[in-house]
């Protein structure tokens, strides 16, 4: 799905410069400034419009530039390349070949984004505008149909809006997948003098960044979602709770709110409907648990972000004791489209119980990491091999980890699983917020479980005992495993404790914290046993169990290890097996990562 491109009247072409966090960190601002200068020099300022956009997802190849309407897509652009693009493409009408995307499979240069295998299988609803509009210009959003959904909703009854939402089958994208329409209905039925709708933009899952991309690239879609939701449930006040780690998302959200206020889309009597609606932005302060609804509410109220048992549910007693509905960014970004195109239209995409699309943050040992949006039910294989370009360095796929610290992994034997809520839950890996971390044979699954548990253990609020101390004890056992100090009894204890923490914890954080452990034990018990019984880490990750010796049977004598060693601990001569000097070795694993043949034990 491609958005309607709006080019300024009187201009012929448009150059889009991506300024999402990824590209911005690689001098996108300088590129943009150079572009304006060069266009001016070339006398093209009158006919070519420049625009910067939010992230369009292909961060791996950033910074990127697109020339519209042709769709010419330039990758890895440096500030010095700009002059050539202006000269050759915009003036000369020919693409700059060397900056076009190189398809690694066909070895061909690809001219437009439409032809790229990365974008091709994607279907963009949530990210429909990301990378194509200027996130700091409300008119750009309006030009592509923005705020039409809100206008339509406000002309309907609350129940009609809720019914439409129910018909869409949209489920909360924050992780639990609760049907949004039903959630609205509950909040709608609560009677109170004041209700709230909150946008949860506290994207805490390490490895997921779709919410950030939406707020950075298309903040108005979230505001519009809130306006529609607020109307449906009868809320006149709203908060957007943004992670403090996302300064750009915060800034752009503030700008968007300001612009919407000036247009009369926020404030008193919005769109002349008689309905009032205001949005405030709250900046989180670094606590993963505040993604949990009741903890988020506590945090907004200025308290320690500790969850409260439910019931009472936020729909009955939420922020400041008032009925409150909380939706996540990705959910909200879907809503304007559900309104304009209708619930049935939305429900036509996806699987039986999982409608619409899902944005995945593809990362890890994959060729193209970035944001991808695909229809619900797209097989994992397609996401990894087609969109993601396969595993990095031609290594072997081991597992995909979904759902971050709350999730689990999908091993190679389930590589073809269609990705929807039910299938993932069945495999013990949840949809979560959409983090999709790809691992290969150099990833240790025990270490992976330990990584997530370290995270949840650190992020536990400490209120309930199973989470506060249970995760600590689990982490201690896991650490013993990675040091070769654990027994099989310890492994059994780990699993029973994991079950107790899952059953016994107060909130979602604790209830799901054991998932990475349970899931890896389920699919990779052999790796655990190797650590315990053989005192070996098959993936060569757990440093205490690595000998740092070259296995002469596997060594292909290529010398990659020697050149990667930062400590000059490896000696290698052509056609000879490399030697590691254990005195000098600092156990940094650079050699292991460099070796394509897994020949270092």
């Amino acid at each position: 799905m491609e958005p309607a491109i709006r080019i300024q009247p009187g201009k012929e072409r448009q150059v889009l410069v991506c300024r999402g966090t990824g590209c911005e960190s690689q001098k996108a601002k300088v590129i943009f400034d150079n572009l304006e200068k060069e266009l001016d020099k070339a006398g093209l300022s009158g006919s070519v419009e420049t625009k910067y956009t939010g992230c369009h997802g292909f961060c791996q190849q950033g910074p990127t530039i697109m020339v519209m309407p042709a769709g010419t897509f330039y990758c890895n652009v440096t500030p010095d390349d700009v002059a050539e693009i202006v000269e050759t493409d915009l003036k000369g009408g020919k693409p700059v070949e060397r900056l076009l995307f190189l398809d690694p499979k066909t070895k061909d240069r690809v001219l437009t984004f439409r032809d790229m295998r990365y974008f091709n299988p994607q279907r963009r609803i949530v990210l429909r505008n990301c990378g194509f509009i200027n996130p700091e210009d409300i008119d750009d959003y309006i030009a592509v149909g923005g705020y039409e959904g809100a206008k339509k909703a406000l002309s309907m009854t609350q129940q009609q809006v809720i019914d439409n939402m129910k018909a869409s089958g949209l489920r909360g994208r924050g992780g639990a997948g609760f049907p949004t329409g039903m959630k609205w209905e509950f909040a709608n039925r609560s009677v109170a003098d004041q209700k709230y709708i909150i946008c949860n933009a506290d994207e805490g899952d390490p490895g997921a960044f779709m919410d950030r991309a939406v707020l950075e690239g298309d903040p108005h879609s979230v505001l519009e979602g809130l306006i529609i939701g607020g109307y449906a449930i009868g809320a006149t006040k709203s908060y957007i709770y943004v992670r403090a780690e996302y300064p750009m998302a915060y800034e752009r959200t503030l700008i968007a709110i300001d612009q919407a206020k000036k247009k009369g889309y926020l404030g008193k009597n919005i769109f002349g409907s008689g309905h009032d609606f205001e949005i405030k932005v709250k900046l989180g302060a670094g606590a993963f648990v505040c993604g949990e609804e009741t903890a988020l509410i506590a945090s907004i109220e200025g308290k320690r972000g500790m969850p409260m048992p439910r019931p009472p549910f936020p729909a009955v007693k939420g922020v400041f004791g008032k009925p409150t509905n909380i939706n996540n960014v990705e959910t909200l970004a879907n809503i304007p489209v559900v309104m304009t195109k209708g619930g049935e239209w939305f429900a036509s995409t996806g699987t039986e119980k999982s409608k619409g699309t899902k944005v995945f943050a593809l990362a890890g040992k994959i060729t193209y990491s970035g944001l991808v949006e695909v229809p619900m039910g797209t097989p994992l294989r397609e996401i990894i091999e087609e969109v993601g370009g396969g595993i990095l360095n031609k290594r072997k796929f081991k597992a995909a980890q979904t759902g971050g610290p709350s999730g689990g992994c999908i091993p190679a034997e389930h590589f073809d699983v269609p990705m929807d809520y039910e299938n993932l839950t069945q495999l013990g890996a949840i949809m979560g917020s959409g983090g999709l971390i790809v691992t290969d044979e150099t990833t240790c699954m025990v270490d992976m479980a330990k990584f997530f548990l370290t995270f949840t253990q650190k992020e536990s609020c400490g209120k309930c005992v199973p989470c506060r101390l249970g995760t600590k004890k689990m982490l201690e056992i896991l650490t013993d495993v990675t040091k070769g100090k654990a027994t099989l009894e310890d492994l059994d204890q780990l699993v029973t404790l994991a079950e107790d923490v899952k059953n016994g914890s107060l909130c979602g954080l604790g209830q799901t914290a054991p998932n990475p452990v349970l899931s890896t034990v389920r699919y990779f018990r052999d790796e655990y046993e190797a650590h315990i019984l053989k005192k070996e880490c098959p993936a060569r990750v757990c440093v205490r169990l690595i000998k740092f010796q070259v296995n002469p049977d596997k060594c292909k004598k290529c010398g990659q290890c020697a050149s990667a060693c930062p400590a000059d601990a490896i000696t290698w001569k052509k056609k000879e097996v490399a030697q590691i000097d254990s005195e000098k070795c600092i156990k940094c694993r650079s050699c292991i990562l460099a070796c394509r043949y897994n020949s270092i034990d």
Partner: protein, 150 residues
Amino acid sequence: MKEKLQEIFSNHHGTRDALIPVLQDIQGEFGYLPPEAMDAAARFCRMSPVEVYGVATFYAQFKFDPVGRNIIMVCQGTACHVMGGARILEEVASQLQVAPGQTTKDGRFTLETVACIGACALAPAMFVNKDTHGRMKPEKVAEILNGAGN
């Protein structure tokens, strides 16, 4: 300090729900939360100082000691972990001779970790103040640190 606090308070409504934004502004001004400022924030938000302390220590963002002139953040998110973020952290820590959360003796650097900044596609990533350095390698650390302000 009194005037600066007054200025911060004048931008907020003196109720409990303003506490976290007030603390964020205080940290923005002073780099950390001085005890006197927490005490003043407590009065402003009409809470007891210990509750302010309880809230502030709950959130990872808040610091209780003065920070260095440059903040180095090394991402330890999933993608960065898988791509070797721990190794980058080790390298930075060993070059600066401080552990995460600490400030170098000369006050030039404070080292911190972050549990994902959403730059997963650039993993492993580290940040010097507001600058992002993606696809980090241990050998690039020295150059980046040298490039930071004094």
